[in-house]
């Protein structure tokens, strides 16, 4: 195909033209600082708050509970570090899972260096957090449970409501990294018992570099970024008005199209999974078969290595990923794939395809054909496959 086929929507998405349109007036026309007293700038404060309301509505929160950040990573860092610091008197123990995004895992490691204790709960072979282990891990000194809503690599959706109930029962705060889930799944923070939630605009056709942290009314966490009194005194720094407006627009669009999108993407995804598993031998699907993000498919092709596969797909104008974008280039195989029990050489041969509503069945068919070709080519080149074939005969 001449045209690029973009199948890496979990890494980032296209900023929708409508979103760009909504942002544009706030660059060169309505450029005032929302904290200024004059009328010219107060329009921006209004725009900011309207966007905040749209976002709050999308998760069943109050708009005073939504705090804009510089992205999903900052929101995760904030939730973990500020909670740890604010509730030190209760204890210094945090519970999370082994398959969190690095934004959570590396923040936990940072906190461990500062004397906090962290328990990393296991997941089963489908990537679902082990609830019994989670509940048993709770101590009198536990201040926070942080479990992601849905995994960015294998797409598995966690039993958030159950985790919320466990947290409530033991009077522990519950944070969820919903960067992959927000805009893709229905979320109601009250229904699910979520106390804090991170999200990022660029995963739902908004711009890169803005996110938010939902903080339930009454939670007394401090700031991560200190300075001016922006965001009700909790997140300092001149507000990114254009992106906040764009984020609001993206959320509005995402909420309006969600039902239809879930239906379309799930169908495409299931078609893709079915063809790949039935047509390419020695292949497995990673993540839960049904409890997975509507747009996520993640495969392991035995005997081949992921980067080679990606480059060959790229030569055919197919954009895909072998895991999370931010660790590609590193030599370690995905901690997520290792956590669900894959051995190293299988973990190295994984491919993540994440759809958008714009993908067509033709694109998927073409992609599957190219994957088949490439996997065969790479297996012919693979000493592991050679050994496997020899052993078989």
């Amino acid at each position: 195909m001449e045209k690029k086929i973009y199948l890496d929507n979990a890494a980032t998405t296209k900023t929708k033209p409508e979103v760009v349109e909504a942002m544009l007036p706030y660059f060169s026309e309505l450029y005032g600082n929302p904290s200024s007293v004059y009328e010219f700038a107060s329009q921006n404060k209004k725009a900011l708050d309207e966007s905040r309301r749209t976002i709050a509505n999308a998760i069943g929160a109050e708009s005073t509970e939504i705090y804009f950040t510089g992205g999903g990573t900052e929101a995760d860092n904030w939730a973990l570090i500020a909670t740890a610091e604010a509730y030190e008197n209760k204890g210094k123990h945090i519970i999370t899972s082994k398959i969190e995004h690095h934004a959570v895992l590396h923040t936990c490691e940072y906190l461990q260096k500062r004397g906090y204790e962290v328990t990393y709960v296991d997941v089963d072979e489908n990537g679902v957090v082990k609830l019994d282990q989670l509940e048993k891990a709770i101590r009198p000194t536990t201040v926070l449970i942080s479990i992601m809503f849905a995994n960015n690599e294998i797409g598995t959706i966690q039993p958030i409501k159950e985790i919320g109930a466990i947290a409530k029962k033991h009077k522990v705060l519950f944070h969820t990294d919903a960067v992959q889930a927000f805009g893709q799944l229905n979320i109601d923070v009250d229904d699910l018992g979520i106390d804090m939630l991170s999200a990022s605009a660029h995963k739902l056709n908004g711009p890169k570099g803005i996110g938010f942290l939902y903080i339930r009314q009454g939670i007394k966490i401090r700031s991560l970024i200190h300075g001016g009194a922006q965001e009700r005194g909790r997140r300092a720094g001149t507000e990114n008005v254009p992106y906040a407006v764009g984020f609001g627009k993206a959320v509005e669009l995402a909420m309006n199209s969600m039902e239809e999108r879930i239906k379309k993407e799930t169908e495409l995804r299931d078609y893709l999974i079915k063809r790949v598993l039935s047509e390419i031998p020695y292949t497995r699907l990673n993540g839960h078969r049904t409890k997975r993000l509507p747009n996520n498919a993640n495969f392991s092709f035995q005997f081949i290595e992921g980067e080679s596969l990606l480059i060959m797909l790229d030569m055919n104008n197919i954009c895909a990923s072998s895991g999370s974008a931010c660790t590609s280039g590193s030599l370690d195989p995905s901690h997520v794939l290792l956590s669900i029990g894959l051995p190293h050489e299988i973990a190295h041969g994984s491919l993540r395809l994440t759809l958008s509503e714009e993908n067509t069945i033709e694109e998927i068919d073409y992609t599957i054909d190219k994957i088949k070709e490439t996997v065969e080519k790479l297996r012919n080149m693979s000493p592991l496959y050679e050994d496997f074939v020899r052993r078989r005969y």
Binding site: S308, M381, P383
Partner: protein, 145 residues
């Protein structure tokens, strides 16, 4: 990320395959690191490398370094082949990204391993050649689909 040369050798690998009755075979690397290279050598009675083939499990750089390494040793004597270092491999490819440098080392090791195998089979000693590190198969893991 990769140079044109790397991309060319990755897309059109030279000397990919097996040799039916090789004079020596060497396999280096392991699945944990994500790279395994195997070199087959066909060496004639004058110690000249008449043919060479490779198989590689690994990233684009791993494939390209294997491919160029086969070109660098083909037609050479055993002694000349020993002088093909990771540096010459990198140079021949017009460079590699820093995180991929280990691939060129692996290519050097793969040649050495195949030469060691050749020496062992023929009960000879090649000056300056050390025993290669443990083979990949020791570390292989099992998986059930």
């Amino acid at each position: 990320m990769y140079t044109k040369k790397v991309m060319d050798h990755f897309a059109n690998p030279r000397n990919m395959g097996e040799i039916e009755k090789p004079s020596g075979v060497g396999t280096v690397g392991n699945a944990k690191c994500g790279d395994i290279m195997r070199m087959y050598l066909d060496i004639d009675e004058n110690g000249i490398i008449q043919d060479v083939k490779f198989k590689t499990f690994g990233c684009g750089a791993a494939v390209a370094t294997s491919s160029i390494a086969t070109e660098l040793v083909k037609g050479k004597t055993v002694e000349e082949a020993l002088k093909v270092t990771n540096k010459s491999v990198v140079e021949a490819l017009d460079g590699l990204p820093p995180v991929k440098m280990h691939c060129s080392l692996l290519a050097e090791e793969a040649i050495h391993a195949a030469l060691w195998d050749y020496a062992e089979r023929n009960g000879i000693k090649i000056e300056g050649l050390k025993k290669p590190k443990g083979d990949v198969h020791e570390e292989e893991e099992e998986i059930v689909y």
